[in-house]
Amino acid sequence: MGAIKKLFKLKDKANSQEAYSSTEEAREQIRITYYQSGYGASTKASGCSINLGVCLKNLYYSFEDLCRKQLNEQERLKQPYIEEQEKQRTELKKRETALSIYEDQKNDLISTIDKQKFEMIDVKQNPEVYGIQDVDKRPKAQFYIGLGLLLPITIYLFVFYISASYSAFFKNFETDSLTAAIFDANALKLSLSHGWLEAIFIITIPFVFMGLGYLIHMFQKNKKFISYVKLAALLILTFMFDVILAYLIEKKIFDFDRVLGETFSPSIAIESVNFWGIIFAGFVVYLIWGLVFDFVMKEHENVDKIKTFIRGKKEEIKNTELKKSDLLIKVDIIKQEVTSINGKISELQSKIDGFVFPVKEYLHYHYQYKEGWFQSINEVLALPAKSKDELKTKCETVSLDHLKELNLENMDFQHLVFTKN
């Protein structure tokens, strides 16, 4: 029993006031009011169409005013815009975060580029910092000095071996002078006159020695025991070759000066100054050529190392620049998005600050009012049916004109938003 009593308990008076303001009910009330006021006004004005026009205008302005005053209702209508704005704000936050991340990345890239540019310059001063060992700080100058020495020595070697090999293998001695024996100014010409095969032979012989010198350089690169053995073998071989050349020349000179009964022997050769002169003018110069060549090659490689390093850095900088420009494009896109989101937010804000006109609701009341008006014409006015119809047609035109004027005649959306500018 008590439960039922409790079930039927009423609210306090204070609360009931609140409950009464339920919008649903209020709207229903308003609807009926419009119907009745339409009815009442029509009765008073005898359904006159001109009056209807004025009344509809009044109705519109009072409804608009009412809407503006119904703050709670406006709040409700604006809710979707507020929610949308909130959504846009979240989007904006996301973009801003992305932007700051991209900014950081961009700064990193810029400092990387700066570092790479600095390294390109600094590598010439401090090559060892960048892992380039055994490099002279002025490799270029040393390279050119070495090259300047190497060229004349090469020419000398050519001349010497051409003439020495000519003397050793082909020359018939007509004088015993040493210079003529070792060096023959006409060696090339004479060998050519003897036949092109002989010329090729003596021209290519210097290349054999230079090839040996090149091998010395290559073997020196590998600092292994076997390389040194090979190096020693090469030196001995070259020395032997020189000895053979000197021996042949010495023998020819001996044969030219020979007294009857004498025979040429190695001991005679070893005791001869000519023999050693040939060896030194050839082999020692050859050794010097090999060392200078080795030195020049090394300097050249050093220049190369630094060049390679710089080339690598340039490539890196190019890549970093590419990354940077990609990033800048991304940043641009995001900045555009931020601008458009900001635009949307302020557009929504102006809607929120503005006023939402509930079109459908207004039309509903408008037709209620019109219904009341027509109802009164039907019921109250004492006119023939034909006149009533004419009157109603006129009123209908006025009503349509009124809606047209407000651009509401073909409304298919719920609300019209007046923005605050």
């Binding site: 029993m1 039922i4 009593k5 409790k6 079930l7 039927f8 308990k9 009423l10 609210k11 609360n15 009931s16 409950a19 009464y20 339920s22 649903e24 009910e25 229903e28 009330q29 009926i32 009011t33 119907y35 009745q36």
Partner: protein
């Protein structure tokens, strides 16, 4: 002269009959039966329904409120079924009649249950007053 209170009551009953978008013949008959009970003629009821007044008012006494709500519940059962719209409309009126918010659903259920089993208005009133 018919009081605004009674007019409002019949308008509510009328709305309830329309709540399921289908004005059943049984609901129409029920409406006229209620009018008879309250001493209203058919013409008077028609007049009320065709000339809606905007001053809807709710009765003062608890007893009348319960009676009116019970009428609505009976009206709902007139066509032998309870639609969602009818149920919600009844709850809306329970709320409008200033019953406690937390009891609304229970109250509507109780009224519908009583109407279904055919409990008389007097029985409910005595139960509440006891």
């Amino acid at each position: 002269m018919i009081s605004t209170e009674l007019k409002s009551h019949f308008l509510r009953l009328y709305q309830m009959a329309f709540a399921d978008d289908n004005f059943d013949v049984l609901e129409m008959q029920m409406l006229y039966k209620f009018a008879e009970e309250r001493g209203l003629s058919k013409e008077q009821l028609n007049d009320i329904l065709l000339n809606p007044s905007h001053d809807s008012s709710i009765p003062e006494s608890l007893q009348v409120r319960v009676e009116y709500l019970y009428d609505l519940a009976v009206m709902i059962w007139a066509d032998g079924k309870v639609t969602n719209d009818e149920y919600n409309t009844l709850k809306k009126y329970c709320k409008k009649f200033e019953f406690l918010d937390e009891n609304i659903t229970e109250l509507a259920d109780y009224l519908l249950e009583s109407a279904k089993t055919g409990v008389s208005k007097e029985e409910i009133i005595t139960e509440i007053n006891s």
